[in-house]
Amino acid sequence: MLTKGKEYDVIIIGGGATGAGTARDCALRGLSVLLVERYDFTAGATGRNHGLLHSGARYAVTDRESATECIKENMILRRVARHCVEETGGLFITLPEDDLGYQKLFVESCEAAGIRAEVIDPELARRLEPSVNPTLTGAVKVPDGAIDPFRLTTANVVDATMHGADVLTYHEVTGLIRNGDRIQGVCLTDVRTGARSEARGRLVINAGGIWGAGIAAKAGVTVNMFPAKGSLLIFGHRINNLVINRCRKPANADILVPGDTICLIGTTSDRVPYDQIDHMTVTPEEVDILMSEGAKLAPSLAHTRILRAYAGVRPLVTSDDDPSGRSISRGIVCLDHATRDGLEGFITITGGKLMTYRLMAEWATDLAMRKLGESDPGCVTADKPLPGSEPAEVKKEKKRLKGWNRRKSHVIELSTEQLAAEGRHGTMSRKIDTRDAASEALVCECEQVSVGEVNYAIDELHVHNLLNLRRRTRLGMGTCQGQLCACRGAGLLAKAGACADAALADLGWFINERWKGMSPVAWGETIKEVQLMSWLYEGVGGLTEGRRQKMDAMADKGEQDAEPAAKTEEKE
C-alpha cells in the first residue's frame, strides 16, 4: 500500500534481499520507508542462486575481502536469521584429478580470512557424508550451511512493515522525479493494471540488482553492470546433508547444496548481454556440464531425479575508476550519486552477494542517514533477530511419550506439516491456524503446506497470486511441481478475494511457469510427471487451448501479471 501524498524519507527500489534488508534497516533506524518492487519479492537474483550460506572459503584464495565479509555475515545470520539457516557444515573435497597441493594454500587462506578450516581424513569425510565421491583424496571441513533466500527476504519485509514501512509489489519504477540535480521521488506503473502513480521521497535508494543499471539510467547516471548468468539444477530429494565443494579454483558446477527437502548443483558462469537479462533459459549444454561435474562431487546425482533447471543473473559491477570493465568485483558497491555524478537524493547499492545482503543494507542505510542528516541510532541488524528467528518462547512442544503412554496415545506428535511450517516461518508459525481439520488439511502434499499456512501467507505476506504463494510457502516446489496443489491454491486465493476467472488464469499461468523449469530436464520421472500434469489440467480439468487464448487476451489487456518468470526459470 502507498500512503497518498506522503513524502517518505527513503524510497527503496527492488524487492530482493538487499532492498528488503535496506528497508528493514531504514525502518529500524526510524526513517519512513517505501519499498517498491516491479514484480514480487525475490523475483530476481535473490530467488535464483544456490541458497548457500557461504563460509567464505570459496573466495579465500582468490578474494580475501569477500571471504572475510562472508564469514562475518555467516556467523551473524546464524544468530539473527535462525529460521532461514540450516547449519549443515560443508566439505571441500579434493578428487584424484585435482592437485592436493592446493589444499594447503586453501587452508592457509581460510585461516588468514578467519574461516575455521579443518583438514579431515578422507575416510572420515566418507562417514560424515556418505554420498560424497568415495575416490576423494582429501577433505577440508568448513562452516558452510544452507540459507533460504525466500524466507530471508520475507522476514526482512515483515520486520520493515512492522516498523512502519510501506510496501508495494507489482509496481515498476518507470521514471524518477527529478528536480534540477535532485531526485525527489519515483514514477510508478502498476504492472497488473497499467495504472500510473507517483511517490515522493527525500532519498531514493536503487537496490535493483542487475536491473539497477536500468534504474540508474532512468536517473540519468551510468552504473556499469556486467551480467553473468549462472544455471543450476534442483534434485528431487536430499542426497547430501553437508555442502560439498571442490577444493580447487572456483569453476563450473562445483557446489552441491542441501536445501530444505532438495539439493541443488551449480553453477555455470557466462556473460550475457544486458538486454537479455529478462530472458534467461538453461541450455542443454549447461545441463550436461552440471550433471557431469555434479556427479564428480556425489556419484549418485547421476541417477537422481531432477526437478527443474533455472538460471539467475549475478549483478557484477565494475569499480568506478575503471569504466573499461576489466576489474570486475564481487564486492559490495555503494554509490552516492551526489559525490559521483552530482545528482542529489539518489544512492545505488549493488554488487555483493546474498550472503552480504545485510552488510549492504547497513552500508546503504549508514549513507542514507548521513545524507538525510538524521541522528543515527546505529545499525542493530547484526544483533536483532528477524521475525521468526526470535528465541522460542516456549520450548519446542513436541511430545515424546514413552512406553505405556506412547502405546495408548493416538495422536502423538506435531504433525509433519506443523513441523515443516515451523521450519519455514520459525516462531511466526504460531500465527498459522491449526485449530481444526479444515485448516490442517494439506494444500501442497510434497512440501507439507496446510490450508492454515496458505491463509496466513495470503493475509500477512503480500500474496496476490500462486507464484507469490509459492515463494512464501514452498507450495508447488516439491516433487510434483504443483500438480496436486496448484488448483487447491488457486481455489484458496479465489476464496480470499480474487475473482474466479483471474484465479483460473493465474492457475494456467502458474502451471506453464512450472513447465518452463521442467522442460530443460524433461526425461525419466520428470517427463512422466509433466504428462500426468498435462492430463489432469488439460485433459480432465479442461484448461485447454481456448482457455489459454482467453488467458492471453487477458494478459494483453494487462490483467495478468507480466512477470518474466513466465519466460525464464526460477529456483524451485
Binding site: R238, P258, S415, A420, E445, C446, G524
Partner: protein, 414 residues
Amino acid sequence: MIDQLNISENNFEQCIKCTVCTVYCPVTAVNPLYPGPKQAGPDGERYRLKHRDFYNEALKYCLNCKRCEVACPSGVRISDIILSARNRYSRGSAGLRDRMLAHTDMMGGLATRLSPTVNGLLRLKPVKLAMDLTLGIDRRRTFPAYTPRKFTTWYRRHAAERQERFANQVTYFHGCYVNYNFPRLGKDLVKVMNAIGWGVQLMKDEKCCGVARIANRLIKQATDAAKVNLREIGAQVEAGRDVIATSSTCVMTMRDEYPHVLGLDNAGVRDHIMTATRFLYNLVESGRVKLAFKPDYRLHAAYHTPCHLVRLGWGIYSTELLKMIPGLQLTILDYNCCGIAGTYGFKKENYAYSQAIGKQLFDSIAEAAPDIVATDCETCKWQIEMSTGLKVANPISIIADALDVEATRQLNNV
C-alpha cells in the same frame, strides 16, 4: 528391469504423485489419523531425509497389506518405505506386548507345551480383560488355539520315514502357525503331495519368517532369523528342491521383504520359494501329475485372496486349483483386506480400525453365504472365523479333503 532403473531406496523418487495408492489404502478409508501411503511413504521420505524428527508415529497405523504397492503404476515400494522408516526412525524399542506378539515361534514353543491350559486361559474373559489392561491386547480378539503336538513332532514320528520312498522331493516351509497352532494343514499338504508321488522334506532348521518381527520393529531378531532361513533354503535349493509354504505371507516375506526391508540378498534362492498352490498348479498344468477327486464331494466355498498373495500376483493358482474340484462351487470374493494384518489387529489401539477395514469383506462373505471360506493366509483365517462365524480353510486343506487319494495315486503310478 524396474530394479535396474531404481533411482532411490525402494524407488521412492519414481512416485509421480498420482495418489492412486491412497485410493486403494484400506486404512486411509477408516482412519483419519493415518496420513495415507503417499504421505507416509514417498512424500514423508523426503522430509525424513532432511531430518529424522519429521518421522511421525502415525506411520504405525500402516498394516503392511501392500495394496498400495499393487496399485502403484510406477513401481514404488510404498509399504517397504513405510516399514523401513518405522524401523529406522521410531524412537524407543518395541514394548513387551509387541515383542510377545512378534515372537510367534518362541511364544508358540512355550504355549504348545501347556496348550490345554493356555488355550483354556486365553478363552477366559478375565484373562482377556487382564491382557487388555496390562498389555494392550484387545479383549475382543479371539486367539488361535495352540496344538498339544507340534507339526514337526508329528512329521518326525509319522511321516519323515515314508517320504524317502518318493522319487520327487519338495521342501515344506511350515511356518509358525502350522507348527504351533494348526498341524492339520501341514498334514494335508503331506497327504496331497504324497498322493501325487512327491515326498515332502523339512529344512534342518526353520525359523519364523520374521514378518511379525519386521512389523514390530524387531529388525535384529528378524534379520537373525532370516539369515538362518536363507542358509537353510540355500541348502535345499542346492539339493535340487524348491521350498513351498502354505502361508502366503511367509512366502512374500522371504521373497520380497528380506531384500527390500532387511537388505539381505536372496537372489540365488528367491525363484525357488513359492506358495504350495503355485507349485501344485504348475505340476498339474504341465501334465506331470494328475488329480482325482471324490465323486460325491459337495461344497460351496468363497475364496478370499490375502493381500500378500495379491502382492505376489499368485491368487490365480489357488483359485484355479479349487476350480479343478468338480463338486466345489466356488465364489471368488472381491479383493478386500480383512483388516487383521497379523499382529496389527491384536493391538488394542488398532482393533476398531481392523474390524472397520474388514467390514466390506465380511459383508461380501455374508452375501455369498458359503459353507466355508477358503484363503491362503492364517491370520485372514482367524479374522474371518472370528468376525463371520464361518469356518475357514486353506485351499490345500480343501483339496486334501476332496482328493480321492487312491485314484490319484493310481493316476500318477505311485
